[in-house]
Symmetry: C2
Amino acid sequence: MNVLVVGAGSWGSALAVLAVRRGHRTVLWARDPEVSRTISAEGRHPRRLEGFGFPRELVTTSDVGRAEIADLAILAVPSSAVREALGLLKLPPRATLVSAVKGFEIGTGNRVSQIAAEIHPGNAFCALSGPTFAREVMRGDPTAAVAASQDGGIASLVQRSFSGSDFRLYRSDDVAGVELCGGLKNIIAIAAGIVSGLGLGHNTLAALVTRGLAEIARLVLAQGGREKTLLGLAGVGDLLLTCTGSLSRNRRLGEAIGRGAVPGAALEQSVEVAEGALACLAVARLAESSGVEMPITESVRRVFYEGLAPREAIENLMTRELKSE
Amino acid sequence: MNVLVVGAGSWGSALAVLAVRRGHRTVLWARDPEVSRTISAEGRHPRRLEGFGFPRELVTTSDVGRAEIADLAILAVPSSAVREALGLLKLPPRATLVSAVKGFEIGTGNRVSQIAAEIHPGNAFCALSGPTFAREVMRGDPTAAVAASQDGGIASLVQRSFSGSDFRLYRSDDVAGVELCGGLKNIIAIAAGIVSGLGLGHNTLAALVTRGLAEIARLVLAQGGREKTLLGLAGVGDLLLTCTGSLSRNRRLGEAIGRGAVPGAALEQSVEVAEGALACLAVARLAESSGVEMPITESVRRVFYEGLAPREAIENLMTRELKSE
């Protein structure tokens, strides 16, 4: 199969390596020609996944025209670049578009499937999500994720194309639920990082993440997603990874803020995009238009954009009125 | 209110301190007279909660006859001692029995509420559970947990008696679900510890915990518990804490085994009871009689009692057949 991966950040690069391991003819598109050159010439990424070699079979390019021969095109760009990247892709009608993006379009709150339906209405769509740190996939650690498509045949195709003993995909047909969980957990992870950065312990973290899951559930159900997705790899699994794992950039951003960094400055200094800091803007609006309460998301938004003190934000969240769960 | 805490391990001791902080006349019963004496004379626990002082108002005793004046009797003994402790308690009819135990009776698989209904059928019952490391409660970190009773008035009473700005209780009426979640997560935590002890990363851990939640869900629903409990503090919250938090004794036991310790020897060396190592016996039987598949629980049981190699156990779990979630 011909696989094109659009975006050579950590996750896009790891997916491209995985595709090569599965025997696919794989092209990795990097916006920055230096990334493309270094991977080709030196078998390493100049800025990400330090210490890992890239296979010689991986072709890299900075020319997105290569999409024309793709059977699977995997989108792995920051959510802010999704519309532009989809606009550049010239997909053949048979190609399946796989989104590995976890975030929302800022202005509209659209999920990738919604943008894809606008720009590439004729192509099948699949969302790939779950608890997957790129470095651990590179290392071959056993990893499980979800391939969600409204078309069961497409979910099966993606599943078979990427599954092996170290990387396993489960099928789902809940595209909206999988996409929402993937984007929303980044916001909760920032709040989780703030808790740890403030010096609070695991009890507080566990309580916050549980309430985070509750507000994710409210929005997912309001948008037609399913409870099963919440309990699965794309829901609880990814939330747990991102809120407790040391490799999570959203969590790390929150930790820095909890320790006293200025939110705007910390965001600018983060090497890779912490999607949650942008997602909270779009999601706060989505929550309002869906009539859903999302106090953690709203607090994270206020910490970034209205100067709310991190300690005050966490205290407010932890002292809401006594009630049943 | 007169509060009696039965059991002076970490959690019983922390609950007794919490009761004092809430202004209750509190008696802590310790099986070992030395524990009782040291807390009274020196304001510290001789073997647990190192570095924390105990308030002077806390009365300690090794005479369980003190139950006769209790309004609330909190049971905080290892699950293997529940039946004996309940047999010793002479509860006045007005007293509410609160279980802070997370485990099962080995021979029968009974939950504490079921044993209590046998021995103290006239007393109201409430299960207290959630993500609560004792040290962090002592320190005053914001902590949230669940008080579950079939009698809403009793859940409210327990809620009001213990809630404050640093410790918040939520009400539930799903006693079976709350008790099951509290006991089952200890087994998954051992498996999570094995994953980390083997040197595998967060992806594998997140996948394992997610599948752990799925098997907890199957048994909870089969036994009449509710999905809402699974998603809440006693379910996901406590599972997350126990599987990722460094203070979890079940996780630590699993880590030692993953690094090569002999399971039986590691179990004997653990300072406090790792409930999961016993619970897997009772739960494997419960699962069988309920017709429910619990592969992680079954694997942990086989590691402890049938010599299954930890690495083989995890590999088997991570390479089950491809399917939808």
